[in-house]
């Protein structure tokens, strides 16, 4: 719609356009509509000086309310007329706030530089998240500076249906009040856990407003499914307490990933139980079983994983329930027989299910079963019964009683049908796009006023005649609950709205006719609630505790017998099922215009800027036979056939993935088109489609990315769709995959062992890799302590004398020796570190075209490898184990990059950092070639200066919009073209901490001696940064604490201790690069009795097979671990 508007307007000239949304009149706008590749989130027509001055004045006024005053533009220096309180130029301020969402508000601490929010961190005061944040929270700061945001309110012009007039906020207020007076107002809101909004909505309902809520991927739906099934009228929300769990079974439930709520807390709790630093820990390690159709990051962590189509979970859960009830001796024989019959289809998996049940029951009270939100009510009820039978309710799982659900879309439809709606207000969200099964055209004809409050113009705007720009959460006041209901958290603005926008609360207040501003309203709510804590404390801490109510009634097992309908038939390769899941990049579509999210590779498929229809290797093979021209799986090469390397999962043409586009259809009008992607680890007959991309009315970044899968989502919003047929279109699409090769090729890169191997040999990781049978790199000093190793140079067997790194002898001895340890056993692959690093270090996005050329700029990348049981030549495996490895600059002690740089642009500093002097770099790229870890990133173009679709135009290309520059971290250089860059260990954070410690020491000296700190000599101990003070961006965001950073010269530091753990190893240690970043080997905890048990993880077996091919005969894989020990 908007597109048509623009074209129309262009022909008619700029008549109706004033300032901000003359975006529609710009040739650049037309350009982006037609452009093949999207570009950086980096444009907009500039922050106007006049507007800026206005905002500054407003900000000063609000400074006393805990806001940081004003922001500073990039290119103009504006001295403060009167300096705002608490503001030291150059020193960031931190404010507690939270990110609102339907999945519970995420408590945050936001870093603000001179009034500009730049970096988002988790609020550690909220214990379950422990300071971690989700990837979306990390990326949300970019949305604040999105040039495609709505910058004002728009109204469809009276004269011309297809053009829009900009209207002032005063006019908006007046119009809203008038509409309210007219009555028959309905609101369709996106779901939210905002308590403030809820309070207002109740007032509105009293006033006769029809309040409905809609969310395409409704994570609250399972609680109502369960509530209904049990027969309460409230919701029963499953809150896992995985910290206490020793056995976890996930039923198609990606509880660590983006598909389920509370994933941060789940990750933190579950991974804590997998932290093994000694044999004792390994014995207590928890065990995760995962049954799933898609390969999720939860399945990647799992010790045992079963591939099963989503429609088969009713049968599966019945069979599981039967086994558990039998073992736990609950339920009558007849009931158990009935359950067995209902699960009969899955007899082939009987052993898996039985052994799993035995294991779960052996640790009853500390085991838990988690069903996926998209599964039917029967599964949720059965899981409740199983959890009850296991005696874990109240221990490892709680069922929190939640409020009744709001009326949904269908009741709105009904009200419109009865002509009860004259004015419909869309409160955020994008229902026209993500509830596309509704006949919106027809519905909207019956409503005279359609108003859309949204952060940007989207598909929903196109049926409306009024668009109100919505403020970002960093610009608004609000408060809401966390998902588990244990906390109420404030939403505190970091700055006054950048543009003429309105928060949802403000709009509701207007409708209510209240003149109270949102700040006062939120404050009043808090004061009503709490008499002890002041509002200031609430804001300062950012969390207020509350006690939710839990449901713990026993349900009789006879309840289960009410489910009598036919169990769905297993899908076959001819009649497939589709599972619709939220897209990693865009979630339900809301982050589609976020460049960081678009360019962050999906953890499993490693796709950027696109989604794909994921299919299993088995299905791929069938399709390939049926349609040989698809080219789904590449022709095996000689290396594949001889087992030198594994076959590629996709067809790579010149390193670019060529994916055939197919049509999926359920019925004639429910079809989608999308590219196929072969994904090992998928259930054979499942197709995984993601919702959220393929938007039609979206900003410059999201335009043209991916396909739209919403048409498959029916009226009931059931995300499991069956009886789907697949038909190739004969067309192909190029997908930007950042990792072409999925196998580790038996190289000891991610080293893995089973818990039992670990218990018998804690140092199993050091018995792998080329260095395990090469001469000792440290010679006689092999056993020396870490401090010695970090700071001295081994002479080993090298005839060349390395430069002396003995810092104590140097003129400027390093006070600290920085190092990092990454525990591979803690990493789930959530990828939050990638975006956190991007946000902290001003890393540009490069666009799909450049990603296809292999020029993505991420400083930390998450390598994802699959390993499998022994493969047959060029066959693609179906059952795989997933290994993740975060790789950033390793800060090698004898860094290969340093010796080859002809101009000394990359050098070692006295604290062991491999420093990169951007100013000195001429860009020979020799360092990047010689880096064995391939972590160096080159500025092939002026990413920061030039629009991503104008890169090839050089100086003639258009410049980037300055708005996103406001979100850049002023402590980090923005790199120009032609220079190399890479991870710095967040050197800006190191320096900041060092300065702070020194300042503090000087202050203390002043207090104790009376002399100015500058005059007295501070001892090394005084200015040494205490362990734990510095957190790198990747470390801070990590929900599972898999990254540790600190001073190696301090034997008591966490990182030193980890490095002395026998599990610690260097990747490619044999090269003697002596990386400062080392890894702790991954430990899996499989169950002996399971049918898929292997005595070593597949990756370890692959290594031993390749490293010692002569040591074994075929089929004799079990001895490898032992062989490894001999080395």
């Amino acid at each position: 719609m908007i597109k048509q508007v623009t074209e129309e307007t262009l022909e008619n000239g700029k008549r109706y356009w004033k300032s901000l949304d003359d975006l529609a009149c710009k040739p650049s706008f037309k350009n982006w509509v037609e452009r093949e590749f999207p570009e950086g989130a980096s444009m907009l027509e500039g922050v106007q000086r006049r507007g800026f001055m206005k905002l500054m004045a407003a900000s000063f006024g609000l400074a006393g309310l805990g806001m940081t005053g004003c922001r500073r533009p990039e290119h103009t220096i504006l001295p403060y007329g009167k300096s705002p309180e608490e503001l030291i130029p150059g020193v960031p301020n931190y404010y507690a706030t939270s990110m609102p969402s339907a999945q519970g508000h995420t408590p945050l601490i936001v870093e603000s530089h001179e009034g500009r929010p730049t970096k988002i961190e988790g609020n550690p005061s909220y214990i379950p998240n422990g300071g971690g944040t989700s990837i979306y929270a990390q990326a949300s700061v970019l949305d604040l500076y999105d040039p495609d945001r709505s910058k004002s309110s728009l109204k469809r012009s009276n004269e011309n249906e297809d053009s829009w007039d900009v209207i002032s906020s005063d006019q908006v207020k007046e119009d809203l009040v008038n509409l309210m007076k007219e009555g028959k107002v309905a609101i369709l809101a996106e779901k939210s856990s905002s308590t403030a909004r809820k309070a207002l909505s109740e007032l509105l309902i009293e006033k006769g407003v029809i309040w409905t809520e809609h969310e395409a991927i409704d994570l609250t739906s399972p609680e109502y499914k369960l509530g209904n099934a049990i027969g309460t009228d409230s919701g029963l929300r499953l809150i896992p307490n995985l910290g206490k769990a020793s056995r976890v079974l996930s039923l198609d439930c990606d509880f660590l990933g983006n598909r389920e709520p509370f994933s941060l807390a789940n990750t933190r709790a579950l991974m804590k139980g997998r932290k093994v630093l000694s044999a004792k820990d390994a014995k207590k390690m928890n065990r995760l079983y995962s049954v799933e159709s898609d390969l999720t990051i939860t399945g990647g962590v799992a010790d045992h994983r079963l591939r099963l189509e989503s429609s088969q979970f009713i049968a599966f859960t019945n069979l599981l329930a039967a086994e558990i009830f039998t073992i736990r001796k609950s339920g009558s024989k007849a009931e158990i027989t009935r359950l067995q019959e209902r699960g009969n289809v899955l007899k082939t998996h009987a052993k898996w299910i039985r052994e799993c049940a035995v294991d779960l029951c052996s640790k009853h009270k500390s085991s838990v079963i988690l069903p996926g939100g998209h599964l039917p009510a029967e599964v949720h009820l059965l899981c409740y019964a199983i959890n009850q039978a296991l005696g874990c309710i109240g221990r490892t799982v709680q069922y929190q009683v939640t409020d009744k659900p709001a009326s949904n879309l269908l009741s709105l439809q009904e009200a419109i049908g009865k002509d009860n709606v004259k004015t419909l207000i869309f409160l955020g969200g994008n229902p026209v796009h993500n509830a596309s099964s509704l006949d919106w055209g027809n519905l909207s004809d019956k409503i005279s006023n359609k108003i859309h409050l949204g952060d940007s113009v989207n598909e929903t705007t196109s049926i409306c005649d009024y668009h109100i720009g919505q403020s970002h959460y960093l610009e608004s006041w609000d408060e809401g609950e966390t998902w588990d209901g244990t906390g109420i958290v404030p939403v505190q603005p970091l700055l006054a709205p950048l543009f003429e926008t309105m928060a949802d609360l403000e709009l509701l207040q207007l409708l209510l006719g209240s003149s109270q501003n949102t700040h006062d309203f939120v404050k009043s709510l808090q004061e009503k609630r709490s008499s002890t804590d002041s509002y200031e404390d609430f804001l300062r801490l950012g969390v207020e505790k509350q006690m939710p109510t839990y449901y713990s009634k026993e349900i009789p097992l006879s309840e289960l017998s009410k489910y009598k309908e036919q169990i769905p038939k297993p899908p076959t390769l001819d009649s497939l099922e589709v599972l619709l899941i939220p897209d990693f990049h865009a979630w339900d579509g809301r982050y589609a215009n976020n460049g960081w999210m678009q360019e962050c590779p999906d953890p499993i498929s490693k796709l950027t800027w696109d989604n794909a229809l994921l299919i299993s290797p088995a299905l791929a093979k069938t399709l390939e036979e049926k349609y040989p021209s698809l080219g789904l799986i590449p022709e095996p090469t000689m290396l594949n056939k001889n087992g030198e390397i594994a076959p590629d999962a996709a067809n790579f043409d010149h390193g670019k993935q060529k994916a055939p586009i197919v049509t999926l259809s359920i019925s004639e009008n429910q079809t989608i088109e999308g590219p196929l992607y072969v994904q090992p680890g998928l259930a054979d007959c499942s197709i995984i489609a993601t919702l959220g991309l393929g938007r039609t009315e979206v900003g410059r970044v999201g335009n043209g990315t991916g396909y739209n899968a919403y048409p498959l989502l029916g009226n009931n919003f059931d995300r499991i769709v069956s009886n789907v047929s697949i038909e190739p279109t004969g067309e192909f699409e190029t997908l930007a995959n950042v990792q072409e090769h999925w196998s580790m090729e038996g190289r000891a890169i991610v080293r893995e062992g089973n818990a039992e191997e670990y218990i018998s040999d804690e140092a199993f990781a050091s018995h792998m890799g080329a260095e395990s049978h090469s001469p000792k790199i440290w010679g006689k000093d092999q056993e020396a302590d870490l401090k010695f190793k970090a700071q001295t140079t081994p002479r080993g067997n090298s005839s060349y004398e390395h430069p002396d790194h003995n810092y104590e002898k140097s003129e400027t001895p390093g006070l600290h020796q920085w190092g990092m340890a990454i525990d591979l056993n803690q990493c789930t692959g959530c990828s939050a570190c990638v975006v956190a690093c991007q946000s902290e270090n001003n890393i540009p996005i490069v666009g799909k075209d450049q990603v296809l050329r292999g020029r993505e700029m991420h400083w930390i990348r998450l390598d994802r490898y699959f390993s499998s049981t022994a493969r047959d030549g060029a066959e693609l495996p179906s059952d795989v184990q997933v290994s993740f490895q975060g790789v950033a600059c390793m800060h090698c002690e004898t860094a290969p990059c340093e010796t080859v740089c002809p101009v000394n642009a990359t050098v070692h500093d006295e604290e062991g950092l491999n420093a990169m002097a951007y100013n000195r770099c001429v860009g020979t790229r020799y360092c990047a070639n010689n880096c064995p870890y391939k972590v160096r990133r080159f500025n092939f173009f002026d990413w920061n200066k030039r629009q991503t679709d104008e890169l090839y135009k050089g100086p003639l290309g258009k410049k980037n919009d300055p708005l996103p520059d406001m979100g850049k971290n002023p402590d980090v250089t923005v790199r120009m073209r032609g220079v190399m860059e890479k991870c710095t260990y967040c050197v800006q954070r190191i320096q900041e901490s060092k300065i702070q410690v020194k300042v503090k020491a000087q202050r203390n000296a002043l207090l104790s001696t009376g002399k100015d700190g500058a005059d007295i000599e501070l001892s090394n101990e005084d200015i040494k940064v205490p362990d734990g003070t510095i957190k790198t961006a990747c470390q801070q965001v990590c929900p599972s604490d898999s990254i540790s950073f600190g001073d190696l010269s301090d034997p008591e530091s966490e990182v030193s201790k980890l490095k002395n753990n026998p599990r610690d190893y260097s990747v490619l240690g044999y090269l003697n690069t002596r990386p400062r970043t080392t890894f702790l080997a991954k430990v899996r905890n499989p169950n002996h009795s399971m049918p898929d048990f292997a005595s070593s993880p597949h990756a370890a077996r692959e290594y031993h097979d390749k490293a010692h091919p002569t040591h074994h005969e075929e089929g004799d894989h079990d001895n490898h671990a032992k062989e490894g020990e001999k080395h």
Binding site: T637, M638, L639, E644, I645, F652, H654, G655, Q739, E740, H741, M744, E745, R747, I749, A770, Q850, R853, G854, R855, R861, D863, R864, Y865, V887, P896, T899, V900, C901, P902, V903, N904, C921, V922, G923, T924, R925, Y926, A928, N929, P932, Y933, K934, R937, F938, N939, F940, F941, L951, Y952, K953, G954, R977, G978, V979, M980, V1067, L1068, K1106, A1107
Partner: protein, 473 residues
Amino acid sequence: MSSKVTDQADVISPELMKKVNPAKWEEVPLVLNKRNFHWVTEKICGIVEQKTPTWWWWCFITAMGIASFTGLGLVYLVSTGVGVWGNSNPVNWGWAIVNFVFWIGIGHAGTLISAILCLLKQKWRTSINRASEAMTVFAVMCAGIFPLFHVGRVWFAWWLFPLPNANAIWPQFRSPLEWDVFAVSTYFTVSILFWYMGMIPDLAVLRDRAKETWRKYFYGVLAMGWRNANNHWRNFEMAYLLLAGLSTPLVLSVHTIVSFDFAVANLPGWHTTIFPPYFVAGAIFSGFGMVLTLLLPLRAIFRLHDLITEKHIDNMCKIILATGSMVGYAYSMEFFIAWYGANSYEGFAFINRAFGNYWWAYWIMVSCNVICPQLFWFKSIKNNIPLVWIISIFVNVGMWFERFVIANTTLSRDFLPSSWGYYSPTVVDIFTFFGTFGFFSILFLLFLRFLPLMPMAEVKSVMPAADPHGGKH
């Protein structure tokens, strides 16, 4: 020499010789058809003094057109960014470094012919050395373009030179790229000196024969007052010998150091000690390939059959055969060591070279560099000039692919499979490289037009007339 020995034996013991009945050793003269000094002077000077032939203009204009591709390519590159080339992570060096090594390699034959063959008193070098030296100088100029412009910020490329500065920042002397700067610039300087110095007596001839004023000044200045005096000749010969001595190690060192760009890196397939000799052999191989590619057409155009005889061609074919076999040996030895070294990364690097994603490049390389030159075992092929010319082009193609294989197979699949990638050049890459042939041709055409193609004095010195004893002592 050997004919003289036979003669002596004949005298000493005629009976024995009758009994042995040795084959008659034909001493093929280096200048055929009993040409005299005057003919040589006329022939060589005539090329420069004649009216510019039409074909020259056509070639020159075409060469200019082709060279403009390089010019435009570089302007685009510098104004826009290295991204206009196909380089990426993990293949951060693409065609640029391949082309650099390729051109530098070509630049080896000239100095080898002039210096090493001079020291070894190989008289046949005289009629080909001038053109080869010119080729060397021009090839090094072409080579220099690539490492200079492949850097991200070419306006700071001068930081590679050890210039004293206020910040006291020096280049990093451990980097092979820094060694390249010294090795290549030294080589270029010495090659130019050698080339120019050898030309002085001939320039004097041209000066003396010049009729137009500009020629008199042009050659007069270049000839630096050469008067053919005895002491001039004495100094000349001594300086020439010294320069030959100085250049000889350079022939070996330049490509050794270029090979260090790879060998000093720690990547599998690069980190090998065989690289220096193997690169030098390859460079001589490609250099002679290029000499043949250039001289055979010149021989036909300027009717130089009496000066560049079949013997010359035969000799060059033999060198190509020898060096080609060395290169082939190196290829197989790499595989052996990779297997013998038992390092799985090394092992894979070589299997991947032959059978991996760039297998086609590897087999083009093997067929051109190893198989093709083996045809030179056959005299009939060596004597078939068109065939020799075609094979010489194959040698050039093969040697380009050798560098391509070395540079790209290793980088595209090194240590961590997660970072494996595939490199393909862009149009800009291709045209920039293509243009350097135009640039080279411009220089070579100018050389043909204005400078003596052969060292007349040296050619005359190997003619029978130069020998007062008429070949007999």
